[in-house]
């Protein structure tokens, strides 16, 4: 049970959150301008590193806000939460 720091509510149990996958995957500004391969990558292809990984979480059983964290996928250590208002999916 991770202890996750919601930028709005503070530290809460992982059970209050939902995971949103990799952060900063930009939706192409004009989807019609990208080819099928690029669009397919936007939809389905994600990084899966061992180590630091920017990812999205939503405090679904709390303030319902989305935010980004950097998590080390080997140790689960989380850091540098940024409210994802400026972030991307």
């Amino acid at each position: 049970m991770l202890l996750i720091h919601c930028p709005w509510c503070g530290a809460r149990d992982e059970a209050e959150f939902r995971y949103g996958g990799q952060a900063h995957v930009d939706r192409p500004p004009d989807p019609n301008a990208v080819d099928d391969r690029e669009w397919g990558e936007y939809l389905f292809v994600r990084d899966n590193p061992r180590g630091r990984f920017s990812e999205r979480w939503v405090h679904s059983a709390g303030c319902r806000r989305w935010f980004d964290v950097v998590r080390d996928t080997a140790t689960n250590e989380m850091s540098a939460e940024v409210p994802s208002r400026s972030g991307r999916r």
Partner: protein, 947 residues
């Protein structure tokens, strides 16, 4: 046979409270404070169980949770399988029997209550032996919030069974005083009978508390988040591997000492002690002094401790150095130990030199620190040569180990390391902690141990009776077989041999098996390492984990404002997400099919009413609401006029149907959207996600209003008349109140929003009133409809009616691989919008295929047949050899009152191009013919919609 092995005095049992229990039909007596194991030993019972693979007799080997052998099935007070007799407290009425290899689950429902506690603390101390108690004292005196958890019925750990002194007085005095002081601290919580079994990320630890069968809850799970953790989990004694090392009467030396000192029980009359280290000598002395004849101390070392030797000489106990027990005799109990000299290398089998008659054989191969929780916390371990076992070697969690778990075995060192750990933990948690003074203890010099993994036996060169893991009946022969098969890693050998995978998770066999594997492989124990320890440390029942979350409390139950009315009418209910929805309303004597046919007929021919309050409702507000809805729906919502309603389809970015519902424009910058009953929360989350993270510039607010509005669907050709009677102010004419429009007005005296929406193809009104008035308005409508034969109907009828019209249900007729085009709903996909979720994906090659699975109708040739939902669709009447190509499957299937036959919806490859074809569906043992049709079965021209 009544407690003939019980000493006349001493021990920590309560002699004023005798208890009677039943073991395998024998009425036996014990005392409060006994475990089942100690009470059995007091009665001379050693053989408890039968091993699960070879059916060998097995006895009591240990005195705690590490017991590999003595498993019992408890029959009363409540049936529980597979409990170690060493952890079951005896009580009046306890009924148990030895496990014949396997346990048996209870067949009746567990009447006990289980509970869950959630808590936080500054310092969590796991284990209340000398180190844990000293740690708790240092931490508690600083004012930190401290929790002390220990599996045993009372605090003290090894001090309870060692008979030693602290500050010149009985160690148990210090335990009592320390526990009393801890209990005085307002911020300290003491949890005896509580096993911490899981250590998860960020110092989240989970424990199981046994509160007793008479407590308000029998067991309690503790979920604890600690700033700092002190692991004072102690050590388990390691047995030795020799031929016939599994017979009843063979016991760990330290455990035998516990039976004598703590329970005042003699585990035998005539004992041999076989050891590789000093610790077993204390057991030999204590047993001797209690009246056990110690016929021999067999020490594998060439040189033995002069300190212990002199104590033995004083008592006339003979020591055999450079000697080992190589085999044993006996069936239900050991009758003799066979001694042989061991060379310095120990690997050369020599013939038996001496046979010693005994009824008890104490063994000690050293001590294994209980690093389980440390390892669960992703701590690493290293091999400590001095004790021949693995000790903690750092963790990234805010945790520290203290006492025997770190490999220090002398009580004085355990006390000091505990006090330091407690102080350091409290300081790390922000408290001004000092080192608590620890009592003085007598310190015997420790002579180096000999690490002996397999005692070479002359009579068993295969190692088939040299048991490494008694709980799994795994032997040296099994390890050799695994290594011969190419396993050269402990994890692989563990899986190949199942060593360490039983109820005890190899507490006694873990390090031993690594030693044996290393010896077979010819490598160092340290370089081989251990297996990874995983939760739970000891078995935990599902009942405890479930706690109160069972039955009605398993999941929140959501009911509508009209729920009680449905109950009063005898409705049966269907679970839709967390909602209870009326499924159908059977009249007396009706089965489901009859009731549903009646309800369907009533709606199509007269008027029916359904509670549709559970449909999700989201209030969408803001100057950019229209732009936002254009992006998330496939159809255009910005062009919808205030006062009108449009059906809407939502896709995910990959173009697959996600949810559907209606969009009602209530004002220039305000919409009310509806969702499926089960999808409401997901839709809100999906919309918030896009709003918050992608289209952050849009000024839109989303609010769930599902439970603000009670919603009643009034459906059927007579519905207009019923509504007109009940809401005379409302203009219900088709001209004044057109399809897909809404009006506000009084319905039954309550301000309502009425929508003309139909999910059945019939003339229909959807009446929304504030939740509070739901039942009242519902009852007025029922009364008003009585002259028209109004019929309440449930979800099953709703499903049939919508299927007759070919309306798909998202999540039933779709499964996340279905596009709007697959559903034949291209009409709901805007061609004018530049962008919306899903649009770009529609032109991906796979999504644009023309032979995708399409939603079609199916009519079985046998009109009486209702196809099972999920049935496969195939091309040919003969299935042939597998794999049989599948064309699709049935998604919805019912019997229709208006069609007079069974009918189905299905997704079928290229289905729209197959209309009129005959396909087959394997039902039972043969494929039955079905005709592919358009998905709309009834009123194709839509004539009934306006009444």
């Amino acid at each position: 046979m009544s407690n003939e092995f019980r000493l006349a005095d001493g021990g920590r049992i309560d002699r004023d409270r005798p208890v009677r229990f039943d073991f395998e039909g024998q009425q036996l007596q014990g005392y409060a404070g006994d475990t089942l194991a100690s009470a059995l030993l007091a009665n001379g019972v050693h053989r408890v169980a039968t091993s699960n693979k070879y059916g060998r007799p097995r006895g009591i080997m240990a005195a705690g949770a590490e017991e590999p052998n003595a498993l019992v099935q408890v029959e009363a007070p409540f049936p529980e399988p597979m409990l170690p007799a060493t952890t079951v407290e005896v009580r009046d009425g306890l009924q148990a029997s030895g496990l014949p290899g396997k346990g048996r689950l209870a067949t009746e429902e567990d009447p006990a209550r289980y509970d869950t506690m959630h808590t936080h603390c500054d310092v969590l101390v796991v284990g209340a032996g000398p180190a844990g108690l000293a740690a708790a004292l240092s931490a508690a005196r600083s004012g930190a919030r401290v929790i002390v958890a220990d599996a045993d019925t009372e605090f003290g750990g090894s001090l309870l069974g060692s008979g030693q002194t602290l500050d010149g007085r009985a160690a148990t005095d210090w335990v009592r005083r320390t526990t009393a002081e801890l209990a005085e601290h307002p911020e300290v919580r003491l949890l005896p009978r509580t096993t911490v079994f899981g250590y998860y990320e960020d110092n989240y630890l989970v424990a199981l508390e046994h509160r007793g069968d008479d407590a308000s809850s029998r067991q309690r799970i503790w979920r604890m988040r600690a700033r700092e953790v002190v692991l004072a989990t102690g050590a388990h004694e390691r047995p030795l591997v020799f031929s016939g090392n599994d017979r009843p009467g063979i016991m760990l030396a330290g455990s035998a000492r516990t039976y004598v000192n703590r329970y005042a029980v003699l585990p035998g009359r005539r004992a041999v002690v076989f050891t590789t280290n000093d610790s077993a000598y204390a057991a030999a002395i204590d047993l001797h002094d209690a009246g056990v004849e110690i016929v021999a101390v067999v020490d594998a070392r060439e040189v033995v401790s002069t300190y212990w030797a002199s104590l033995c000489v004083e008592r006339g106990i003979r020591i055999h150095a450079s000697t080992g027990v190589v085999s044993t005799s006996g069936t239900d109990r050991i009758t003799s130990a066979h001694l042989s000299s061991l060379g310095p290398e120990g690997n050369h089998p020599t013939s038996v030199r001496q046979v010693v008659t005994c009824d008890l054989l104490l063994v000690s191969g050293g001590w294994n620190p209980a690093v389980h929780l440390h390892s669960q916390a992703r701590g690493s371990v290293r091999f400590a040569e001095d004790i021949g076992a693995f000790v903690p070697d750092g963790t990234d969690q805010a945790a520290r180990s203290a006492g025997a778990v770190t490999g220090v075995l002398a009580t004085g060192k355990c006390l000091t390391s505990g006090a330091e750990a407690g102080r350091d933990a409290a300081r790390a948690a922000g408290f001004d902690a000092e080192l608590a003074r620890v009592p003085d203890s007598k310190h015997a010099p420790i002579l180096a141990a000999r690490h002996l993994w397999v005692v070479p036996g002359s009579g068993d060169s295969d190692g088939t009776t040299q048991f490494v893991d008694l709980a799994r009946d795994a032997t040296v022969a099994d390890v050799r077989r695994a290594v011969a098969a190419g396993m050269d890693n402990v994890e692989h050998v563990k899986r190949y041999t199942t060593i360490g995978t039983a109820h005890d998770q190899g507490k006694t066999s873990g390090t031993l098996s690594t030693g044996v594997i290393a010896e077979v492989l010819g490598v160092g124990v340290g370089e081989l390492g251990t297996t990874t320890f995983r939760a739970p440390y000891t078995p935990v029942t599902f009942a405890a984990l479930a706690g109160r979350e069972r039955g009605d409390l398993y999941d929140p139950v959501r009911v509508t404002a009209m729920h009680d009315w449905h109950v009063e009418q005898g409705a049966l209910f269907e679970n839709v997400g967390q909602w209870k929805r009326p499924w159908y309303y059977p009249h007396s004597g009706e089965d489901m099919e009859t009731a549903v046919l009646r309800e369907c007929y009533a709606v199509r021919s007269g008027v029916g009413m359904q509670d549709v309050s559970t449909l999700g409702k989201i209030d969408v507000q803001g100057p950019d609401a229209a732009e936002f809805l254009d992006l998330v729906y496939t159809n255009k919502m910005s062009t919808l006029k205030v006062g009108r309603i449009r059906y809407g389809l939502m896709c995910t970015a990959d173009g697959m149907v996600f949810d559907d519902g209606t969009v009602t424009r209530t004002a220039e910058h305000r919409y009310l959207i509806s969702t499926t009953s089960g999808g409401a929360a997901n839709v809100l989350a999906h919309l918030e996600d896009w709003l918050q993270t992608e289209w952050t510039h849009l000024r839109v607010h989303l609010t769930s209003v599902t439970e603000h509005w009670a919603t009643i669907a009034l459906v059927g050709p007579e519905s207009r008349q019923v509504l007109a009677d009940v809401a005379p102010e409302l203009d219900v004419d088709n001209d004044g109140f057109g399809f897909m429009t809404w009006q506000e007005g009084n319905v039954a005296g309550v301000h309502a929003r009425v929508c003309r929406i139909s999910f059945s193809g019939e003339l229909a009104f959807e009446i929304n009133v504030p939740w509070w008035y739901g039942r009242e308005v519902w009852e007025v409508l029922m009364a008003g409809g009585r002259p028209y034969g109004i019929t309440p109907y449930g979800t099953e009828t709703m499903h049939v009616l919508r299927a007759e019209k070919g309306f798909p249900i998202v999540g039933q007729d779709t499964d996340g691989t279905i596009t709007p085009h697959d559903l034949g709903m291209s009409w709901a996909v805007s061609k004018k919008k530049d962008d919306f979720l899903g649009k770009r994906s529609f032109s991906r090659p796979d999504t644009a295929r023309t032979d995708r699975k399409h939603l079609v109708g199916l009519l079985p040739e046998d009109t009486n047949l209702v196809l099972p939902e999920g049935a496969q669709i195939v091309e040919q009447p003969e299935l042939g050899e597998p794999p049989v190509p599948m064309l699709g499957h049935v998604t919805s299937s019912y019997r229709s009152a208006v069609l007079g036959s069974g009918f189905a919806l299905a997704v079928v490859k290229g289905g729209r191009d197959r209309v009129g074809e005959t396909l087959y569906s394997p039902v039972g043992d043969r494929p039955v013919p079905v005709t592919v049709t358009e998905p709309v079965f009834y009123d194709k021209e839509g004539a009934r919609r306006d009444g």
